[in-house]
């Protein structure tokens, strides 16, 4: 009854198809969250057409991808969004989509409540309007709460309330849980990654080490009642592992298809270094997943590098690849938020986040020009341009090497 290798080791060699595939349908978004993983805002003119999206769903069906995590941008602003959801469901590809709630009308909520194959995640990053809107923008708290009430009223039981844990909301976990309970929803907490625009604000937003410990203890006490998308596996170094696979699944069990069909190793690694191919190429997504050199490389046994001699390595496995990459740390060293503090030392050794030329997340679809250095987050206010000339489309533009 036992397999020759533990399951986690089997997974490191990759699977016939991803377990957890994220598909970002559009870079267009009505919001401009300061920590957006995909630097979304404006639609990309090269985004997959309806026919190309349907062909990709056909491929997912052939590969038996059970479900896709659909995001963006704001996926529901695509005019063909509901058509694509219906198409996926008809082809037995489940859809879990993340939304800020802007298009959740009573009619939509009734339709969604009736399907086993569709799940909804409402994004909210503060249990209070002040904390949420400082990160997600004015009005976003009210939009999300209205969507939650609408789903609850339509009888959609168990939709997800999805929260990125930040320094500003880490003390609100009980409030988030109460908010979820009140609406018949399930709470999902995920880790803030320094990816996309998140790289600009990570220094100000990522939880302190004391908060991180408190989040871990809180998650342990909640067990399987709170979902985490396996995103806190770097905290396993504290002792008991949290529920989930507890490994970096990039290219092994996880990948990202972006709106133009580019396939990246994971949703937090939108950078050319982690680009495995495009679904429009010969052999489509299947070939990228099964044959790309990048994924083959990620599926080879990884050396623990500087972490190999650490007693916690078996638990945390060196943490998150993307978090290391975008903070300038070597991929075979500690996670920047290593629970034993090795990340802080490593950041200091490379000059601290921002102290060197860090890899810039690519591509960028932000509606406002990106800042080239970390931007302080001002609670209660939208991020203002630092100078009036920053409104110029080329202000802050730094040509990127490579």
């Amino acid at each position: 009854m036992s397999s020759p290798l533990p399951l986690v080791e089997q997974f490191q060699h990759g699977l016939a198809a991803p377990i957890c595939l994220t598909w970002e349908l559009t870079y267009a978004c009505n919001l401009s969250c300061v920590h957006c993983l995909s630097s979304s805002g404006r639609r990309d003119p090269r985004e997959l057409t309806t026919a190309q999206c349907k062909a990709l769903i056909d491929e997912f069906e052939r590969m038996q991808v059970f479900y896709v995590n659909v995001g963006g941008g704001e996926p529901t602003v695509r005019p063909d969004f509901w058509e694509l959801v219906d198409y996926a469901v008809a082809h037995r590809v489940g859809v879990k989509f993340s939304t800020n709630g802007i298009r959740i009308t009573p009619e939509v909520a009734r339709r969604l409540a009736g399907s086993d194959y569709v799940d909804v995640q409402i994004s909210l990053d503060g249990a209070t309007e002040r904390v949420n809107d400082a990160v997600r923008g004015a009005g976003s708290y009210r939009t999300a709460l209205r969507a939650m009430r609408t789903l609850a009223a339509a009888g959609f039981d168990g939709f997800k309330l999805s929260v990125v844990v930040t320094r500003q909301n880490a003390g609100q976990l009980d409030d988030f849980a109460a908010l979820a309970d009140e609406h018949g929803a399930q709470l999902r907490l995920t880790r803030l990654r320094p990816a996309g625009r998140g790289a600009d604000v990570w220094d100000e937003l990522h939880p302190t080490s004391a908060q991180q410990r408190a989040v871990y203890d809180w998650l342990v006490s909640r067990g399987e009642n709170v979902l985490t998308g396996d995103s806190f596996f770097h905290l396993a170094g504290y002792g008991q592992a949290l529920p989930g696979l507890n490994l970096c699944g990039a290219g092994r069990v996880v990948c990202l298809v972006d709106p133009v069909g580019d396939v990246y190793a994971c949703p937090f690694a939108i950078h050319e270094s982690f680009l495995a191919g495009n679904v429009r190429g010969d052999g489509g997504f299947t070939r990228v997943w099964r044959e790309s050199e990048l994924f083959a490389d990620l599926r080879r046994p990884q050396s623990g590098g500087a972490c190999a001699s650490c007693s916690a390595f078996d638990a945390c496995r060196g943490g998150c690849m993307a978090a290391k990459f975008f903070t300038g740390l070597p991929l075979d060293g500690p996670d920047p938020e290593c629970v034993l503090g090795h990340g802080e030392a490593a950041l200091a050794a490379v000059g601290g986040a921002g102290g060197q030329t860090l890899p810039r997340p690519t591509p960028d679809h932000s509606r406002l020009p990106r800042q080239s250095s970390p931007v302080p987050v001002t609670i209660g206010r939208r991020r203002p341009p630092s100078r009036s000339c920053d409104e110029d489309p080329l202000a802050g533009f730094v040509p990127r090497a490579g």
Binding site: S2, L7, H13, L15, F66, G94
Partner: protein
Amino acid sequence: MSTKAATAVFDLDRPWCLDERVAVRPEPFGALLYHFGTRRLTFLKDPMVLAVVRSLAEHPDARSACESAGVTARALPAYQQALATLAGSLMIRERDGR
């Protein structure tokens, strides 16, 4: 897999089948099962369990499904336990219309 109902005795002498809302994907190590209703994923690490699960609907009872998949009498309790776990997580269910 949920272990809540795993302690319940699994009745090998009743007809069982895979739930209609479950998709099965073969993998090098065995298989992945996904239930669209509970949105739960389960891993089958043993190819013989997979063979049993897939053939449940073709047999009058779970015991004969196990036998024809080649499960020995000695190994049967372990398979009974595995089936109990799958029943507990709703991946398999008792069949009607006997």
